[in-house]
């Protein structure tokens, strides 16, 4: 059965990377944002260090990498599940793989791999663009966190994908939810810069914890007013809850598919 699940993973990855230009455009957009937006914000903030030894560009780069992983896992998981459900392919996959759980495992693995590839693909040119960050950071911890965060985001993506079952909802998930998750977190700016009224959203946003831990593991800075261990616990709760709900919802989605 493993070979058959891996065939599904292979199919999903081939589908995602069949449109290489789409993938490359996203990475290029991020680099442009870091280059233009990063420099503009740094000019506003000034050259002062946001945290000991860390300037704004270095701070932003880490946020952007984990934002890219989130965006790509969410969009690819949602689009894949949406198009497979619409076309009836989920039914064909069920007949082929015999058990819905293998479809879920296959989609989960492929989505996590997409996240890892996205993260590493953005990381590679940034090593050249912002070398100072990588001199300062714990590189192996950063790579490991990219892999783990891809798994974390995949579990959330699966949940969001089960909501995106109509074109309108798909649009909602990809644009509105994506924007809220990105801007109501510490991806682009420290939490202190976010108006107090939005802070509750920041603290229930899983992106905040993933990015905080990324900066903690790579640069040793903790932006939250509590021990990083609590961030790990919160993320684990998120993973558990989203996996339980998304698996149930995907089962229902598969059951609803007709040919």
């Amino acid at each position: 059965m493993l070979a058959r699940v891996l065939a599904l993973v292979n199919r999903e990855l081939c589908t995602v990377f069949s449109e290489k230009s789409r993938f490359a455009t996203r990475i290029l957009t991020d680099i442009l944002y870091i280059a233009i937006g990063g420099l503009a914000f740094q000019a506003m903030i000034g050259n002062r260090e946001l945290f000991p030894r860390v300037n704004y560009i270095e701070y932003l780069v880490l946020g952007m990498i984990f934002h890219r992983i989130f965006s790509d896992t969410v969009s690819e998981t949602s689009i894949s599940l949406f198009s497979d459900q619409r076309s009836g392919m989920l039914g064909l996959l069920l007949v082929a793989l015999e058990d819905p759980k293998y479809i879920i495992i296959g989609k989960f693995l492929s989505s996590a791999i997409v996240g890892i590839i996205s993260g590493l693909t953005l990381l590679a040119p940034l090593i050249v663009v912002v070398p100072s960050l990588f001199v300062k950071s714990n590189f192996s911890a950063l790579i490991l966190w990219i892999a783990l965060s891809s798994v974390i985001y995949t579990s959330l993506s699966m949940l969001l994908a089960t909501v995106a079952v109509t074109p309108e909802r798909l649009n909602l998930v990809l644009n509105i939810v994506g924007s809220i998750v990105a801007f109501m977190s510490n991806v682009f700016y420290p939490i202190d810069y976010i108006p107090v009224i939005f802070r509750p959203i920041v603290y229930i946003n899983p992106m905040t914890y993933v990015v905080t831990l990324a900066r903690f593991f790579a640069l040793g800075i903790n932006e939250l007013p509590f021990d990083p261990m609590y961030s790990v616990i919160i993320i684990l709760i998120y993973i558990l809850v989203s996996i339980i709900i998304s698996v149930k919802r995907i089962y229902k989605l598969i059951e609803k598919t007709r040919l």
Binding site: G88, V95, E98, D99, L259
Partner: protein, 308 residues
């Protein structure tokens, strides 16, 4: 002979409509069964239930003794399906769609490549398989969908309008491939189709489904013979329709079907043709006598509006 498919008192109710009202079908191993019926008759619902994608409201459906509701995984191991709707990944090439489907079904890579090659050769798709499916014509997409099910060589093959959008030559090739699969591998085929020629050529047994009821069942030949020896196709003007119907003798009244201002009179004996056509000639635009086909059986059974 083993029974591959057994359907007993199958009922499927949707919130607003009863799609199947207690149908019974039995298909022996190595046979081709054709489910004919108009749009909305319940054919695709039946195929979806056989494919374990839809649960029956009541009744039992078994494939090689495995119940589709209680043992769906065992059933899925035995079947493959060519759905009516487009079920291919448009972003991938035809080859990749076939390859992944075969691998998902557990066909070993080397055997899979051999089968893809053979099928591509037979269906004249070899040079097209490297292109992305979104560049294909409707017929090519259909061919890949059929190839997809044929590469896995299942014990039971479910087909929903399999040759829709295919040209006559490609259709013949597909029929030949299906026949060979049955003869060489003892595959059982269950197909839902509108195409009466396809059913006549391919099927050992045909069931006519209308409004969720199986109204007629038998071999294509038996069904034709039950209807008579020939059919008189009478094209008349609207104003003469009642006149022509009144001339038809009483013993033939139950064998007349009207579609717009054309009458189909099913005859038990060929000599009725001469007698009847002599009487109605003056009121008709055209009178044609021909042998009964499965399409006539379909029209007679489904089109219940009987003239007169």
């Amino acid at each position: 002979m083993k029974v591959a498919i057994r359907i007993r008192n199958l009922v499927k109710k949707y919130p607003r409509v009863v799609a199947l009202k207690g149908i019974n079908i039995e298909v022996p191993e190595g046979n081709i069964y054709g489910l004919l019926g108009p749009n909305g008759a319940g054919k695709t619902t039946t195929v979806n239930i056989l494919a374990t994608l839809l649960k029956p409201s009541s009744g039992t459906v078994q494939i090689y003794g495995f119940d589709v509701t209680a043992q769906p995984k065992d059933v899925r191991r035995l079947i493959d399906i060519v759905p009516q709707r487009l079920c291919l990944d448009l972003r991938l090439t035809g080859f990749k769609n076939l390859y992944f489907h075969g691998r998902l079904k557990g066909v070993p890579p080397r055997l899979l490549l051999k089968r893809i090659d053979e099928l591509a050769e037979a269906l004249e798709m070899k040079r097209h398989l490297k292109r992305k499916v979104r560049e294909y014509s409707g017929g090519m997409i259909r061919k890949v969908q059929i190839m997809q099910a044929l590469v896995t060589q299942p014990k039971v093959l479910l087909l929903d309008e399999p040759t829709l959008a295919l040209d006559p030559v490609s259709r013949r090739i597909v029929w030949d491939l299906l026949k060979r699969l049955v003869l060489e591998k003892k595959t059982t085929i269950f197909m839902a189709t509108h195409n009466t020629v396809e059913a006549e050529i391919l099927c050992d047994k045909v069931g006519l489904l209308n409004h969720g009821l199986l109204i007629k069942e038998g071999s294509p030949r038996t069904l034709r013979e039950q209807l008579g020896v020939g059919v008189l196709e009478i094209r008349t003007k609207e104003e003469y329709l009642n006149k022509v119907v009144s001339i038809v003798p009483d013993y033939l009244k139950g064998k007349v079907v009207q579609i717009r201002s054309t009458l189909y009179v099913f005859l038990d004996k060929e000599d009725y043709f001469e007698t009847l056509s002599a009487k109605i000639r003056d009121y008709c635009l055209e009178i044609v006598y021909r042998k009964i086909t499965l399409e006539d059986v379909f029209i007679k059974e489904v089109r219940r509006k009987i003239a007169g």
